[in-house]
């Protein structure tokens, strides 16, 4: 690697020749404001907030896109730089609703933070402001384009990370805007509702649809029995939104907080994650033995399911028919749990806490109504929304004493918790499938080949006489690569796990902001830590799952299981 010497604000440092000026500045320990820059997306050089002086350049340069060169002299804090930065931010604010008090991103907004850091004390331009109707016609995301600063991060996240290409710039000049083709709403666009756009948006131009009011109302309605399930990835991220370090494991505090909020029962989606393994595992064995469609692909990630329904409907037969853990849970709450507890399903309000925005849309799917009296999951809140409710309730989260989930739908294994990480479903399935097929106990439960943040992970695992070929991937642009391989006949896999979001659910569209590689790795580590600390680590050994089959469902893939725990898919005509 060729190194070059650059001088930044008088300090000389050595960096790789391929470094940008911004990266060199950061390496020198200097923080300059950025807006359109995102460490995981291709730099655009659009916002012009990161302008610096480079000796010899005709004008200021956008440091995020300018390459370093040998002997370059950079100044990040001159009068011209300060004036330019303040002007750019003032111009952005002049075309921005000044409703910070009531904004979804109040105190958590990059634009607001930069304005504060720069010490802006007034906006001298009181002219035209853009006026675009809010797009809220879908269950997952709200786009308030008046808050958009046209940094293009959503466009790049959707195109580069997800390969979905929903957004692009439209119109010109002051009327420039970000929109799906023909400026339709997201419900009419080929959007998977994965919410990655919302996670990278620096302002509140794209946010999750807020369902906290509805949930508060259900909690305060004494005629309702409100139960809540919490997804595996929430427990390793919620702390971040409440002032704790990335990767903090807050399972017990979360349970305590949910009880404090007033939920009648606090359950765990990990329970149905274990159940998913039973159904999906047996489905895989059945496909292997009976010549079913292979490779079988997981179906837990609703962003992924939308993607395949919209973009690759010809491959729908590859999807496991097992419902996602959230929907298995919802179905059981309104049937099994209602029966057991003697509460009418219509009196139960079922809430799910998810790291995901697409889960909101999944819960709203017509077929997800097992009782005929409404959705199995009534409300889905993202990790961010739960954090807001905890703050609103005045709960001092970090000082809470850990509590346990309620039984029986709160009993789970380590196999269930690793669903939150890319490769986790595959690993959990292997733990069960190998033991069921061979009848022998596994020596080592950890399948490291499917772990980690590499884009596409492949492995060959012996299951009895067969070497099972596996692939695991995360993000939809990686998913596209695998699907194209299936279509071209080059994929001889037996089983594929696909998660829509980077790192799996721990990097979901509903997780606390600022999720980048480092933070995702910490969440990932914590997920595996939770697994390691579990006394039970195989789904088929979950006693509550066993009891469920013994007393109520019968057997995996049995008639009742099939009716309650499986679903079907249909092509979506959008865009």
């Amino acid at each position: 690697m060729e190194l070059v010497k650059v001088t930044i604000d008088g300090r000389q440092i050595e960096v790789a020749k391929t470094t940008t000026v911004l990266e060199a500045i950061q390496k020198a320990g200097i923080k300059i404001p950025t807006l359109c820059y995102h460490p995981e997306l291709r730099p655009e050089g659009a916002c012009r907030v990161c302008m610096v002086e480079v000796e010899g350049a005709r004008s200021l340069v956008a440091s995020c896109v300018y390459p370093v060169s040998q002997g370059m002299v950079v100044r990040t804090n001159t009068a011209a730089v300060r004036e330019a930065r303040r002007m750019v931010v003032e111009l952005l604010l002049a075309n921005h609703p000044k409703d910070c008090f009531t904004c979804a991103r109040n105190l958590n907004c990059e634009l607001q933070t930069i304005a504060a850091d720069l010490g802006l004390r007034g906006i001298r331009f009181e002219g035209k402001r853009k006026s675009i109707p809010i797009d809220a016609n879908n269950p997952s995301l709200v786009r308030e384009q008046e808050k958009c600063i046209l940094c293009g991060r959503c466009i790049r996240a959707c195109s580069e990370r997800q390969g979905v290409h929903v957004y692009s710039f439209v119109k010109r000049g002051f009327n420039t805007n970000v929109a799906p083709a023909f400026e339709v709403g997201l419900d009419k666009a080929p959007c998977t509702f994965c919410g990655q756009c919302a996670t990278v948006c620096p302002t509140a131009a794209i946010v999750e649809k807020d369902d906290t009011r509805e949930v508060w109302q259900a909690i305060s309605d004494s005629t309702k029995h409100v139960v809540v399930q919490t997804a595996p990835a929430v427990r390793v991220a919620l702390g971040e939104a409440l002032g704790m370090g990335p990767g903090s494991v807050v399972t017990g505090k979360m349970v305590a907080a949910l009880r404090n909020l007033g939920f009648n029962r606090v359950f765990d989606t990990d329970f149905t994650a274990d159940l998913t393994i039973m159904e999906e595992g047996y489905e895989f064995i059945s496909r292997l033995n009976n010549g079913g469609k292979l490779p079988m692909i997981t179906s837990c990630s609703p962003g992924w399911v939308n993607f395949v329904e919209i973009m690759y409907p010809e491959l729908l037969g590859h999807l496991s028919t097992a419902k996602s853990p959230q929907q298995m849970f919802g179905a059981l709450v309104k049937t099994y749990y209602a029966e057991k507890s003697g509460i009418k399903p219509q009196d139960i309000v079922s809430v799910a806490i998810m790291p995901c925005t697409a889960k909101k849309a999944e819960a709203a799917r017509e077929e997800m109504d097992s009782t005929g009296c409404g959705p199995d999951v009534d409300f889905v809140l993202t990790t961010r929304e739960l954090a807001r409710m905890i703050k609103e309730a005045g709960i001092d989260f970090s000082s809470l004493t850990a509590e346990q989930f309620d039984a029986p739908l709160g009993i789970s294994t380590g196999a269930g918790v690793i669903f939150g990480a890319t490769g986790g479903v595959m690993e959990a399935a292997l733990r069960t499938v190998v033991e069921v097929v061979t009848g022998k106990e596994l020596d080592c439960l950890e399948f490291h080949a499917v772990r980690g943040l590499n884009g596409v992970k492949e492995a060959e695992i012996p299951v009895g006489d067969l070497k099972v070929k596996l692939a695991v991937t995360h993000t939809l642009s990686n998913a596209r690569k695998l699907l194209d391989k299936i279509n071209s006949g080059d994929a001889d896999y037996h089983f594929i796990e696909i998660m829509a979001c980077p790192g799996g659910c721990i990097g979901g569209g509903g997780q606390p902001y600022a999720s980048c590689g480092d933070i995702r790795q910490k969440r990932l580590n914590s997920i595996y830590e939770c697994d390691q600390c579990s006394s039970l680590r195989k789904s088929h050994e979950n006693p509550a799952v066993k009891e469920l089959y013994d007393t109520w469902l019968g057997k995996p893939l049995g008639e009742k299981s099939y009716q309650i725990l499986h679903t079907h898919y249909h092509p979506q005509q959008r865009g």
Partner: protein
Amino acid sequence: MQYIRAHVLICAGTGCTASGSKKLEAALHEELVKKGLDKEIKIVETGCHGFCEAGPLVIIYPEGTFYVRVKEEDVPELVESHLYKGRVVERLLYKEPVTHESVPNYNELGFYKKQRRMVLGNCGHINPEIIGDYIANGGYEALAKVLTSMSSGAVVNEIKQAGLRGRGGGGFPTGMKWEFTQKATGDKKYVVCNADEGDPGAFMDRSILEGDPHRVIEGMTVCGYAIGADEGYLYVRAEYPLAIKRLTIAIAQAEELGLLGENIFNSGFNFHLKIKEGAGAFVCGEETALLASIEGKRGMPRPRPPFPAISGLWGKPTNINNVETFANIPQIINNGAAWYAAIGTEKSKGTKVFALTGRINHTGLAEVPMGITMREIIFDIGGGIPDGKNFKAVQIGGPSGGCLPKELLDLPVDYDSLVQVGAMMGSGGLVVMDETTCMVDLAKFFLAFTQSESCGKCTPCREGTMRMLEILTRITDGEGKVGDIELLEELARNIKNTALCGLGQTAPNPVLSTLRYFRQEYETHINEKRCPAGVCSALTGYKITDKCIGCGLCKKTCPAEVISGELKGRHTIDQEKCIKCGDCAAKCPLKAIIKG
């Protein structure tokens, strides 16, 4: 062999076509047949002569008689008198605006006398749809020369030594650009011709493409050989249908003769050309936006480096020049770098085509050697200002250029002196203004253009130009505030310093240059709430001077009934209620009512 005793050249450029040259041609043909002259007199459709203001233009050879504004109904007389009896039709000749003398011959027109038509040399004289016409005038000799006797390095050197600079705006040395692309590593390279001419009033590129398309094709092919490219794109705006049609014909003809395609002149060199129609975004004239547009993406500029010479079209080394630049190439190769470098000034070589528009007698295209003064262009070639008005300023370089006052009329026109005075060569649009132009209003006009044509990508251009426009609007609406000028200057300085591409970086130029040379006018608008040129309607009032004899006509005319006064006494206008329609001033027999 058939004997043709006279050629009638009818201009079929866009300007003359718009003023009826097609109908004229049909009528002439019919008349010649009627008179039995169609075998001995040949009609030739040509490209643009640049003197569009006087179209449709007809030149009759061998005499070279130059007829202007020829209509269908003039045809019988033209045929009967000139072509049959050999008498010049006096009334259809051009008359010099000052002397009112008729000018029978093309070369004696003031408009042409000071021009040096090299790039435009064929325009108006050959049929652009016949490749033989181009070849008969020395066409494709340069290509033959480079392919049979020059190394690619020698070609690049020739262009470098000629001192040719880009004619599209920036004025970057063309030879250096070619050298960068030549030296860039890549298995595939491209030549791109920027024909997305978008500056309001500029149409030299269109005229070249319409009048002499092969010259551009030849220039691009020479470039392909020099840099090692085998494929080229002509990015032509879709609003130029005639240029696209003639280019399409020209490419097909060149391919048929083996002047484009595989193994040209048996040299082993291959070159293919494609036309890409642009959809009419001004910003697509910016090279990186243009490349994005060819690739099928939204035309938005991207930051440089990397420059297109290293990573251009589809990531391959790409050389982009504009139409006029490529059109200069064949003559440099044919006549040598030294010949070319002898024309022009020390740092600006060759000629430049200017589009003359606005308040000027001869609107049209003029090609002049670099270094000529603005005064010569506007007064000698352009024929001065019409209606006896005084010259006030000239906007040079399109909406990104600057506005120069009469004190700078003797400035030699070249790349560097223009930049020094706050303007730029740009593509060579010249908009001339007389004393009835308000400079604040003018700046507002150009800024409204760049604002609506901004691609919207970078903040300073998208948002900053809007705020500048709002301040200018406020000033012209009579609501200007103390501090507005300083705020405009602060915005302009920062937009120039931070915008992503040339469009944004130059957008404040019209404001900055008018502020530099006409600051007083801004101040008058703001402090006195008055528009000295009488243009800004919110700031314009009508006054009755002491020339008034009290005839009462104005009082009768006024639709708002706000004029009062006794018969034979001086009348007055109630300024509060006046609707500023100007009817009174138009009616006053003594011109006693003035605007201001």
